[in-house]
């Protein structure tokens, strides 16, 4: 049933694509038929699979580290007011630097490595997670904290048994948002000279005016984004099963 709900809209979108191209006689330069795009992917299967894996790896590495750093810094900010007053404005300022500008520097520093792309994905991930996790920690009922303290709970107990679970719904909201951002970060990173990956493919197709290949790269990027988002949603459904019942 859940699978059907997932597959059905996709099939619908595919049918719409095919139908529109055929009925409205859209020039393949603007939108090639879906069949042709899928055919291109099929023909170069291993290349697209490799691009998928490479970009997925970059995005996930940045995403995971960004998520962890976000939760850790939110924890530090929650417990140490002065740290928050000192560093939080810096966090905000960091996000006003366009990722493109930042990307050039990172590639300059780390070269054309996985680390460079992951760093950009990280840069886009950690901030939303920090903000949301912090909001989640601050929203915890102080009476709940008092109750745990009356049981003799240590700070660690309180964090682990109360603060973190309470903040999970908000953290996952941020993670779902960041899943797309991390992918965008990885792709932008690839634009600064990578030869493998979805972003590199996209750029190559653009320069060669291969419209079909561009669409193929876009579909591959969508698959990467969908994979990350899907895993996040699955983990969320397991961990935050109680949210809908509140």
């Amino acid at each position: 049933m859940a699978l059907l709900r997932l597959v059905l809209p996709l099939l619908l979108l595919a049918a719409l694509w095919e139908g529109a191209v055929a009925l409205l006689q859209i020039s393949p330069f603007y939108l090639p038929p879906l069949r042709q795009v899928l055919g291109a992917i099929w023909a170069l299967g291993p290349a697209y699979a490799q691009a998928f894996m490479v970009t997925l790896g970059e995005a996930v590495a940045g995403f995971v580290v960004g998520g962890l750093v976000g939760v850790v810094s939110a924890t530090a900010f929650h417990h140490q007011r002065w740290l928050r007053d000192m560093l939080f404005p810096l966090f905000v300022a960091s996000q006003t630097v366009p990722v493109i500008a930042f990307g050039a520097i990172v590639v300059l520093w780390f070269g054309n490595t996985l680390l460079a792309k992951a760093a950009i994905a990280f840069y886009l991930t950690f901030f939303p997670v920090t903000v949301n996790a912090l909001a989640g920690f601050e929203a915890v009922d102080p009476r709940q904290v008092a109750l745990l303290r009356s049981f003799g709970a240590s700070r660690r107990d309180i964090w682990w048994k109360l603060l973190l679970p309470s903040a999970l719904p908000r953290i996952f909201t941020a993670l779902r948002l960041s899943a797309g951002l991390a992918l965008a970060g990885a792709i932008v990173g690839e634009w600064f000279g990578a030869s493998i990956g979805v972003g590199a493919m996209l750029l190559a197709a653009l320069f060669n005016e291969q419209v079909v290949a561009m669409w193929a790269a876009i579909l591959t990027a969508a698959a990467v984004g969908g994979a990350i988002f899907g895993v996040v949603a699955l983990v969320e459904a397991r961990l935050v099963f109680w949210r809908d019942e509140l």
Partner: protein, 277 residues
């Protein structure tokens, strides 16, 4: 005694019959928040195994007193809080139950009940066993795996009480545990609490707004004065135990109620006048 009850006695420390020794002794306890004097020289002793109920007008510093006894708040210097005759930090020494049940929505009934035990470092599995054995006593049999959102208000409150009992301390602090319940559920819970109390024998300090509840439950009713809060009146309740609802209409009960009402009324008027000024 049934097998289940026997088993329970082994799982939990069952207190001894009431003795004269003071479990908790407050001597001249005061607390000031900035310009507001919340408590002024509270003197109160609670004997081991005793059930003391505390009433007072709203804003009289009951919660402040509670937080001090729970170890969540320091009393101002000059007063002393003695548990078993010793002035130690009370955090982790008193089983405290706040007004709201404060159950965690991601834990089922058993796991909410063992929260305190878990914090103490008891193995989860053993704690769950104990909780499972206690569930029937708390009217939660068959609901062990339910989540708080699936329970009624009365049941949630019983889970919270079970959590408090599982935190195996001789002194229990209950802050209006039945305040949010409807009258019928409330009456049922009161009788049930007395039943549980007589079986597990703990020392209880119970805050309430309800004079009937205070008399029905307590060995002794303590009335607090309007702010700054201090002890205005202590009234021993010599009504026989076990108590049943018929007690509420007896002349003896009404005589005590009359006396307490007068005291509470007087203090409420003071609060009212202070608020109007």
């Amino acid at each position: 005694m049934t097998d289940a009850a026997d088993q329970l006695d082994q799982l939990l420390t069952v207190g001894e019959a009431p003795a004269a020794r003071a479990k908790l002794q407050l001597n001249g306890v005061s607390r000031r928040f900035g310009a507001v004097q919340a408590l002024a020289k509270v003197d109160l002793g609670i004997a081991e195994g005793e059930f003391v109920t505390l009433i007072g007008p709203s804003g009289c510093g009951k919660s402040t007193l509670f937080n001090i006894v729970a170890g969540l708040l320091e009393a101002d210097t000059g007063g002393e809080v003695l548990l078993d005759g010793a002035a130690t930090s009370l955090l982790g020494k008193v089983a405290f139950m706040p007004q709201r049940d404060l159950l965690l929505p991601w834990r089922n009934v058993l796991d909410n009940a063992i929260l305190a035990a878990e914090v103490e470092g008891r193995p989860k599995r053993a704690a769950r066993e104990t909780a499972r054995a206690m569930a029937a006593d708390f009217g939660l049999k068959g609901f062990e795996d339910h989540y708080p959102q699936q329970l009624s208000g009365g049941m949630r409150q019983r889970v919270a009480l079970m959590r408090t009992f599982m935190f195996d301390r001789d002194l229990m602090l209950l802050d209006e545990p039945f305040g949010a319940l409807d009258a019928l559920t409330r009456a049922m819970m009161q009788r049930w609490l007395l039943d549980i109390w007589s079986r597990y024998r703990r020392t209880i300090l119970f805050i309430t707004h309800d004079i009937d509840e205070a008399i029905f439950l307590g060995d002794r009713v303590v009335v607090m004065s309007a702010r700054p809060g201090s002890i205005k009146l202590e009234r021993r309740v010599e009504l026989p135990r076990p108590r049943d609802p018929a007690l509420l209409t007896t002349p003896a009960f009404n005589a005590i109620k009359r006396e307490l009402l007068d005291a509470v009324e007087e203090e409420s008027m003071k609060t009212f006048a202070a608020g109007a000024a």
